[in-house]
Symmetry: C2
Subunit: 293 residues, 2 copies
Amino acid sequence: MDCDELDCFLILATELHFGRTAERMRLSRARVSQLVQRLERRVGAPLFARTSRRVALTTLGRRLRDDLEPHQRGIKAAMARAIASAKGIDEVLLVGFTNPLTGEAVVKAAEAMRGRHPDVAVEICEVPFNDPFGLLRQGEFDVQLTAFPVRESDLDAGPVLLSEKRTLAVHKGHPLAGRGEVTVEDLAGVALLDFEGEPPSYWRDFHAPPRTPSGREIPRGAAVGNFQEALTLVGAGKGALLSPAHAADYHPRPNVVYVPLAAEPVDYGLVWRAGDENRAVRAFADTARKVVA
Amino acid sequence: MDCDELDCFLILATELHFGRTAERMRLSRARVSQLVQRLERRVGAPLFARTSRRVALTTLGRRLRDDLEPHQRGIKAAMARAIASAKGIDEVLLVGFTNPLTGEAVVKAAEAMRGRHPDVAVEICEVPFNDPFGLLRQGEFDVQLTAFPVRESDLDAGPVLLSEKRTLAVHKGHPLAGRGEVTVEDLAGVALLDFEGEPPSYWRDFHAPPRTPSGREIPRGAAVGNFQEALTLVGAGKGALLSPAHAADYHPRPNVVYVPLAAEPVDYGLVWRAGDENRAVRAFADTARKVVA
DNA sequence: CGCTTCGTTCACTGACACTGAACGATCGCC
DNA sequence: GGCGATCGTTCAGTGTCAGTGAACGAAGCG
C-alpha cells in the first residue's frame, strides 16, 4: 500500500482533473495517470470513469474515497500533533477553510499566529464541500472559516472577516452569459444545481434560493457533492451555480462564464463549537480579525 | 509522509526489536534503522529510547502509536473492502486473532472459507494485546479467536476450538527455572506481570491469579501493554508471566525459560457481538470448527 | 576478556519513480 | 467537417534513492 497512490487518488477524487491533480502533487500528468492506474490494478476495478474530456468517480471509487478520507486526515493530524509536541508546543489548533479565498486568509492568520502565539501550533486543512459543519462538530476541526449565514445552535460564530460579491456561473451558451450583470429576479426558471447530503435548509436556500424576490420559482437541478463536479456540470450546460466572485479567477473553465450578481455579498467568518471556546480559539479569532482586512 | 516509515514504526512499536521488525517487513535491519531515523527526523524528536540491547517507546512514541494505529487499520480495511467488492464479493468478514497459534488457525479457516463460501471475503488482522474486546465491540472486527474465559454480556462465544498447556515464563536465573514443572501453588511470592489498561477482573485473574489454591498471595509486578514488552521484562528478571505453551517455540528469548505449568489448559474459541450473528459469522464459525482440529 | 546479540554507519548498486515527447480521443468553433 | 485546443495515455530514457551487505561499536553474559 503506497501512500502516493492514495494521496493521488484522494486529490483526483476532489479535483476530477489530472492536470490540476498533477499540479497539486507537483508531479507530471503522466505520473498521476500511472499512480491511479496502479491503484486501480491493485483494487481490481476502475475507480474513475474517464474519457479524455471528463473524469468522474465510479460507485466503487466514491465508496473508497469516503472510506479513506477520514483516515488520511487522521494520520496527517497525528503526525502534526507529534511534530508539534516535539517542538514543546502544548496546543494544536485545527483550522478549516472552505475555498481558495478563505484558504489564503487562514494561511495568513496562521502565519501571524506563529509570531503572536508561538505556543499554539496551527494546522490547516480543507473542509469537505458536502457537510459543512460535520467535521467541526466531530472535533476534526477546532475552528473554520466559512461562508455565512451559519445558524446552528451548537456552533458560535465570530464577526464578518471577509466579504465578496457573488456571481452566477453559467454555460457560455446560456442566455444570461452575455449580460454584464444579473439580478436574482433574472434567475426565474434557471435551474440552479442542488447539493448532495442534507445541508441545513437556510444554508441551501442561501446558496440556491428556491424563489425570486417577486416569488417566481427557481427550479433545482442535479445535486452535486463537490465544487469541481458542479463546474463540470455547468460547463456541460447542465445547470447554473451561484458562486463567490473569486471563483472566476481560481476556477476558470473554458465553457463557464461568471456573471456578476446584483445581490447581497457573501460574508465569511470563523465558526467554532459553542462549548469549546478555549484560549487557542480566541487567540486565533483575535489574530484573524487583525490580520485579515 | 511515507507509508513505509509509518508501517515500520508501528511494527517496531509492537515488536520492540529491529531484527524481528526487519523480518516482518522483509527488509534488512539496516533499512529499518534508516526508516525509523527518518521518521524521527521528520517528527523532530526520538520515538524510541534504544540501547544496543533494549528498545522502548518514548512517551511521544507511545502517543503517536496510539494516534496512528486505528487509522492505519482503517486504511487497510478500506482497501480490503474495495478489493473485495471489485471481485463481486458482497460480504467482508473481519477476523481477529490474538497470538501466533490462533493466527495460524484463523489463516487455515480463512483459506477453507474461500472454497466453501466464495461470496464472503475474510480479512485477517491481529487484535491489540491491551483491551481484548474493545475493537470487537467497536465493529473493527466481526469475529475473533480469543483465549477463554470470556464473560461479557454483549458478546457471544462459540465452542472450544483449540486448547494448549500453559507455561511459566521466568528469567533463567530464577529459582523455578530449573524445575521440570511448576504448580500454581509454587507461584506464591512470585511477582506476575500485570496488564495495562482495564481488563475485566475475571480475565486478569485467569492470566495473573492473585492467590494460590491454598490462598497464599501471588504479588503483581509491573504492568505491560504488550507481549513483547512482557518478555523483555521477564528477560530482565523483572517478573514472571503465565503464557501459553506455544510461546516457547514462537518467542524464544536468550534469558527466558518456559517451565510447564501443572494447571488447567488455556482454551480458545471464537467470539462475536451478541446481536450481529449474521450468515457470514455463522459460516466462519462452522468452517473453523471443521477445519481446526 | 572473549563471545554473542544488537543497533548503526557507510559505500555501493539496481530498480523504479518520474519525465518529456508523441499520440489518440473528444470537445467547441468557424 | 476540418481545425485547433484540451485532456488522458503510452513509452522509452534517465537520475535518484530505496535497499543491501559488511564492518563497527555498545552492551550484556559467563
